[in-house]
Amino acid sequence: MIAKQNFERISDYVWQVQQNFRGDMRAPARLYASEELLEDALQDESVTQLVNTATLPGIIKYAISMPDIHQGYGFPIGGVVATQAPDGVISPGGVGYDINCGVRLMASHLHAEQVAPKINDLATALYKNCPSGVGSEGSLPLNAKQLDDVLEQGSEWAARNGYARREDLQRTEEYGRMPGADAGAVSKRAKERGRDQLGTLGAGNHFIEVDHVVEVYDIALAERLGLFPEQIVVQIHCGSRGLGHQVCTDYVNDFQRAVREYKIELPDRELVCAPLNSPEGQAYFKAMAASANFAFSNRQILAHHIRRSFEEVLASIVKDFDLFQIYDIAHNMAKVEEHAVDDKRVKVCVHRKGATRAFGPGSAVLPDDLRAIGQPVLIPGSMGTASYVLIGTAKAMTETFGSTCHGAGRVMSRAKAKRQVRGDKLREELGARGIVVRAGSMPGLAEEAPQAYKDVSQVVQVVHRAGIGCRVARLEPLAVIKG
């Protein structure tokens, strides 16, 4: 077990386990946390999992974890590992089963008071129009050719078929289309699982939320993004559904043989990996990119249904019910990026597992209108609490391979949450606070109770004060839609 005394305090919010802590580490392991969040992280296997990621061949600088770190499998949730490209490794477990699980934020031109009389109707329309829940099927079943197109074109496919605007793509990480995607690298079984799931939310911690902007920390940045106080905005949190789960399952299984072939020894079989430039590494990268495109397209189709719902409910009371996109980001992905390491620009493969890209001002990959300010970062909190909009920073580029946290981070198991909280009671409590809930499953709602998570404001405060994300605005929910 790792204890607090095994950490060296590098700065107020950075803690490091040195490389000599364990003989198999290839780099130090760093955790961004306050003292309190570090102590939380030491309650389960999170920190051991962080140290395990420091054993990956080709790792550069250090293994990193964000303040929302919690126990996962293989990587901790909140983990970031960069390996040298092209001969360092890529690990399917370092991305996880929900490939390109991510968040989209759309904003209206409406004030909360304009929507308040219709918030119940809006929640009902969103629940009806956006398929959710375990095993949910979309309104858009795809034939084999269409599915291959989605896998290779992502949100471009959605735009060609009337589900996206060009401006949406401009405000999406990778412009909604991961390069290098190859539908041929995705198994028949994965495609079967995905064929009827495009435009579905799923279950678990995935949600659609109607929020209002309750606080603006940086007026100039908020204005540049199109945010203002009391504005109605909408968040979507979901990923690549069964298709992505199957791709990860397929490749974690295949890589069990690959690690033997490449003589890679690891402390956990879920960390299996192969050199990025090996046939196995390339096949996984192509399939992961294709799954990411499915997820971008999935959130795009849901965005289309949300716009339709706003029109359905609000057209009779307001003139402008339109929603424009603030940004769409991934928080489970491996990407080849260029970063400064030891004063040189080098290509690295950055794994972000429950962590968000947070590119700072000047980044060449950002669209023209964002390049001067940096990339928007979306941090959803637990149900019924706050969410945050941040902006990427120059410090994130030099310290964390342009990465920051992704959410609140769980502290309580699902079983315990269900024992402590009743879904119907929770819905009543949220209702009393003015938050409308539409959920398919009351036990499922209980699993996502706010007390099962860390305080997102504490998490965000750490990344803000550590300088790897700059707070722009705080959102609070008015309506929550869950499967």
Binding site: Q71, E270, R414, K416, G444
Partner: protein
């Protein structure tokens, strides 16, 4: 002997399965999977049967592939499985029958298992028989 026990896990689900021999261990691990998802008992008249054959490089991988195959059958046939019979088991191959019933609202899980992971995966012989630890992603 109890079939399995749940192990606390912060974000996902984990269980320890027990068995007098390896066949029973694999059967009880399958029970654990569907019990965690909230499967309900059914009338025998509703029972369906699926044949499962999987291969792998060793017993732990075989356990992952067996459970993964059952999840795939569940999703593709909209069924839940309540009884299992391992017909043949070697370190690299398993043949089995899974008996189940169509999924209904009664046992629609709160969160479906996304995948069976290799994290902390163990199969060990103990004084009482065999034990396996499995973590699943939900």
């Amino acid at each position: 002997m109890k079939r399995f026990e749940e192990i606390p896990h912060t974000a996902d689900w984990s269980f320890r399965a027990f068995g007098g021999d390896l066949c029973e261990l694999f059967e009880n691990a399958a029970h654990a999977l569907f019990a965690l998802e909230g499967a309900q008992a059914r009338r025998p008249a509703d029972e369906t049967m699926r044949l499962v054959t999987v291969s792998a490089i060793d017993y732990p991988s075989l356990l992952v592939n067996w459970l993964t195959e059952l999840l795939w059958l569940q999703e593709s046939h909209h069924e839940t499985y309540l009884r299992f019979r391992i017909e043949r088991l070697s370190p690299t191959e398993l043949c089995a029958e899974a008996f189940g019933a169509p999924l209904t609202r009664l046992d629609t899980p709160t969160a479906r298992i996304k995948a069976v992971t290799y994290h902390n995966l163990t199969i060990e012989q103990t004084a009482r028989g065999w034990e396996a630890v499995v973590v699943v992603d939900v």
